[in-house]
Subunit: 220 residues, 2 copies
DNA sequence: GTAAAAATTTACTGCACGGTAAACAGCTGT
DNA sequence: ACAGCTGTTTACCGTGCAGTAAATTTTTAC
């Protein structure tokens, strides 16, 4: 929600009273409009016009705030990544089992409320993800993002091992596998329309990955 | 390699002597040119011109053989799916363990020779896959294709269980999981540039999925 | 060998898109 | 209250693209 594109930074200030919009808000408005336009048209067919149609302001405003389509989409990608990370909120004080499960569920199913918004966001996210193969800028940002998600899983696994509630395993390998499987579960739902792919995925994670974390004769 | 788009089917015949090209060959030439163009430019930036530049013939020939860009890409998608399936060739007479491993390796790493071609093909395949979320025609074709790949894995697992070399498991779940993990392993390499993702994936499949197929006190 | 059909090329067109220019509004400070 | 800045709008290009039309060459059929 902080830093956006390069442009000129120290723009207008927020007028506290009434309902004033200023530079920063406008950018947020544009980001959200881009979101909806992208969800409707898809990356390939996205026109600047479509983004304009999704907001109150006219499409030319975009050119004032961003330096062309490329710049806009680069900023948007960062916006999406930040939003994704921000949406994964778990109780860090919980035991590793609970935290691990919570993280998996959040990534797979999204926040309990707003499940629809989750899949709309993910649709856009996954499309940008695929596009990274043709755009180094996208790749860099998404690579870093993907690693953070993975790392948060690895950390929980390592915590669990230290606390003795998980078996000794290769945390990197497990974390990567879980992250990957979550990713592909969502993708199968989004691209192929398999509505229950996330649920199947959840079950597979339970039976084939989490089970192997159980200490012999331990809980569950 | 057989049937193409709807158009008019029974075109010109092949002249045996010399090196003559006729209708069917031209379509193949166009398909291959589309392949290269797509690999270079990416789906979003693909122009008809690019396809024309990738072959001896001029780009207008495409309009003679296909009914516009959409028709071309629909035909191409089928072409790619068929090529993928045709490329997975394993010795069906081998024992389930060997066949399963062979299928996994083929999907992950491609034919031993032509490893470069494999990743070029997969790059295109995965991009089309992502695009399916915005195109029902693509989704239908790829859904069917994905299911066939999965089914071939499920079949091997079931064979193995009948022969008693695999433990009794939910073959559907295992087959789906293996297929999914292969998919995401490739994707991570292609989109994020993780060159050793396929190898990591292979190891994860071994340790977390195949291990669970081993009958207690069995081989390996 | 010649006429008809198929395949390919050369030359062109319409238009949708991203981007720009200049006019206009609204707030800020003095 | 008026100058000056930020932000927004209306109106307008220039380009690059998919697609077409007609001319030309090659292949097939008799």
């Amino acid at each position: 929600m902080s830093e956006f594109s390069g442009d000129d930074a120290g723009g207008g200030e927020v007028d506290v009273a009434d309902e004033k919009v200023s530079a920063k808000d406008t950018r947020e408005v544009i980001m959200e409009a881009t979101f909806r336009a992208l969800a409707k048209r898809g990356y390939t067919d996205l026109r600047m016009r479509d983004i304009g149609d999704e907001m109150e302001l006219t499409r030319q405003v975009i050119h004032y705030h961003f330096d062309g389509k490329n710049d806009l989409l680069a900023s948007f990608l960062r916006y999406v990544a930040e939003q994704y990370e921000g949406s994964v909120e778990v109780d860090e004080s919980a035991d590793p089992w609970t935290e691990l499960q919570a993280r998996i569920d959040q990534c797979l199913f999204g926040p309990e409320f707003d499940e629809f918004g989750h899949w709309e966001r993910m649709k856009v996210y996954h499309e940008l993800f695929a596009h990274a193969q043709n755009d180094d800028r996208h790749r860099e940002i998404l690579d870093e993002h993907y690693d953070q998600i993975k790392q948060s899983i690895v950390d929980v696994v390592e915590d669990g091992m230290e606390e003795g509630v998980f078996r000794e395993v290769d945390a990197e390998l497990v974390g990567q596998l879980i992250t990957d499987v979550i990713h592909v579960g969502r993708e199968r739902r989004i691209s192929l329309g398999h509505d229950d792919a996330p649920k199947e995925t959840r079950r597979a994670i339970d039976e084939y990955i989490l089970d192997s974390l159980v200490v012999d004769g331990g809980p569950e």
